[in-house]
Symmetry: C2
Subunit: 390 residues, 2 copies
């Protein structure tokens, strides 16, 4: 008997209610029945993005497709864009821009650190013609959370550029206040905080971004916001939507609404805090230190640990999936996801598995110290963690 536990930073665990909603009999996407669901999830998505004024489009694609949609809809060939790069996903913005002939002004940030928002002020002053600033709220490759509201404020004060956020892993974990923070365009994916399998991307577009879309000359067909907007008015999508996932989405959004988005943020803050403290109690180091995101905890692999063997043992022997580092971080970190369908016991289980795995890989840990510390925090009245509104 082996139970499985998915603590990777996406895909994440799916509640059975959602999984069964996906398994309902198929319906056609140009019917009142589908439109009713689609209108409801679109309204629900606005709540998750904390917007009353934006449109939200639901795409059949993974998150990267949604990122490409952002680039090709609002920019033109030769446009300049400022791209904050502090990991694989920041770099992805730059790669997509470059493929489409957008000139990238990179703001490179050391892996494991967040950009200092003030750093972009001189760049915006130097490059008055920057059309867009691309950011990553939670950089999943390094576990870093970035101060989107501060960056948005600077972008609005210093330029006419559009403020664009990769919120793929952060929506439903960290607050992203589209309207209040003045975000023009944000993208997220279904397999992170959304309680859903992968296969959907959501793009939230305000009026500034829609205006930019009118002028954009980059080629687009499948990703066209105009087509999506035209069809949204008829409560459907331009191309066949991923119906089963959208039915799951309806249930997932209802679950999130019932808990209340503020409580969902709060839950993630608590669980992330407990995870970080437990990791430190085991004598391990947080890769992102003070910049750690509530989406996942990136842990620096201690000297002498064979990270691949450690992760393989957890998966094969105990059914627990954590993630390793990607690309140049491979072997240097491991990552514990705690987003979406996770509660106190999941954190305890994840930390328990880390203790087991380390000890079986002959890395010295004081058994029980991690789970005890997590337990202390999760049960302690005094440990109400303020929501990190970064």
């Amino acid at each position: 008997m082996k139970k499985t536990y998915l603590f990777t930073p996406g895909p994440t665990m799916v509640p059975p209610e959602v999984a069964l909603a996906e398994a309902q009999p198929m319906i056609h996407h140009r019917t009142p029945e589908f439109s009713k669901i689609f209108v409801e999830v679109t309204e629900g998505l606005k709540y998750l993005f904390q917007t009353k004024t934006c449109n939200v489009y639901t795409l059949a694609s993974s998150g990267t497709g949604g990122m490409e949609a952002c680039v090709v809809n609002i920019l033109s060939k030769g446009d300049k864009a400022l791209v904050i790069r502090g990991g694989k996903f920041g770099e992805r913005w730059a790669e997509i821009c470059e493929v489409f002939g957008v000139k990238v002004i990179p703001v490179d940030v050391e892996y494991g650190k967040a950009v200092e928002p003030e750093l972009i002020t001189p760049l915006l002053r130097q490059h008055r013609d920057v059309k867009a600033v691309f950011t990553t709220q939670s950089e999943t490759s390094t576990g870093v959370i970035c101060d989107i509201s501060a960056i948005a404020r600077i972008v609005k004060e210093e330029s006419a550029a559009l403020m664009i956020v990769d919120a793929i892993s952060s929506i439903c974990v960290h607050p992203l206040l589209m309207d209040d923070w003045g975000i023009d365009l944000a993208v997220t994916g279904s397999q992170k905080g959304f309680l859903l399998p992968p296969g959907l991307a959501f793009v939230c577009v305000n009026q500034n971004a829609m205006k930019a879309a009118e002028k954009s000359d980059l080629p687009k067909y499948y990703w066209s916001f105009k087509k999506m907007q035209k069809n949204l008015k008829d409560a459907t999508t331009p191309f066949t939507p991923a119906v089963s996932l959208i039915r799951g989405l309806k249930v997932a959004i209802d679950m999130i609404k019932e808990e209340g988005i503020e409580n969902v943020w709060q839950r993630h803050a608590r669980l992330a805090h407990a995870t970080r403290e437990a990791v430190k109690a085991l004598g391990l180091e947080l890769f992102a230190g003070e910049y750690s995101s509530n989406v996942l905890t990136a842990v620096r692999s201690p000297n002498g640990l064979d990270t691949s063997a450690f992760l393989k043992k957890l998966r094969d022997k105990y059914g627990v999936s954590l993630a390793g580092g990607q690309d140049e971080l491979k072997g240097k970190i491991f990552r514990i996801g705690h987003m979406g369908y996770v509660n106190d016991f999941d954190v305890i289980t994840a930390i328990s598995s880390v203790e087991k795995g380390l000890s079986e890989c002959d890395y010295p840990v004081e058994i029980g110290k991690g789970v005890a510390r997590a337990q202390e925090i999760l049960l302690g009245e005094e440990e109400k963690v303020a929501v990190n509104t970064l």
Copy 2:
């Protein structure tokens, strides 16, 4: 109590085995467990495309995304392409080409008719620099099947152009023999003959198309064949795949393999034949006449029938979804899908619903004549219908 029946030409009904496979606990996509499934479905897809030499890529997108992937991977700006347009989906090839700066030489075909393959010979001789010929095997908007093998033969004889097929609704219904017919590139979607919900596209690419991909200068990131090929070697995808749908795909492919693809084609030929004969027995006219596809039966709306009211009654009163016409065919035809998870009783049910709906819309039909004719064919030993290998 209202049971529902989905006889639309996509999405189609999903077997419960497949739906439940989708509802299994989520797994991470960079694990041996996922890779094992992914390798198996990729091999299975080769069987469905009847190829030993091509690569098949699985995309998280609807079919149109797969079509866009075909265009942007093999062509360059300013290239010429011959596009056969006999309906909405042929037109879609042209629209995508034009968006990306590909010059379209259209071959326009009357709605409801198939292109005469010989028509393209003079065009290929006149335009020696045509890089690709875009075709639609089963034009879902009109119910027409097109002779892909004959077109492919001409394309190979007359030119160096790549032969590209939209097989979105036809795979698993009509034979498409990638290797034997010399198809260079074909695309299909999950929500048609595949027994799956929408959300996946599959692209089958031969060596000629891969060579063309080396030279193509159109911008691509999410759709990049090169990225897909690189990741396919590691038994995964470049971006997070739609894991739940791929788990369903595994079960669906196993079901198709167990039946045998030749038997699957044969089943569709029989069911389509019975549907067409039943429709004619009711005094109705096939919109596509002798060109009728086995994917769906497009029926010309008889004079005096309010098609929208007829379809609405079937859906609202009897839970039966048929499809109307799209765009300029709206109100002029209705379409009965019979692909995927369909059997004899489904055809009888569909015809029964047509009789009910017509009679309740005060259109004179001889009650029972359609179902009786379908039954005769489905039960008649002598009525073994040869597989239409068009």
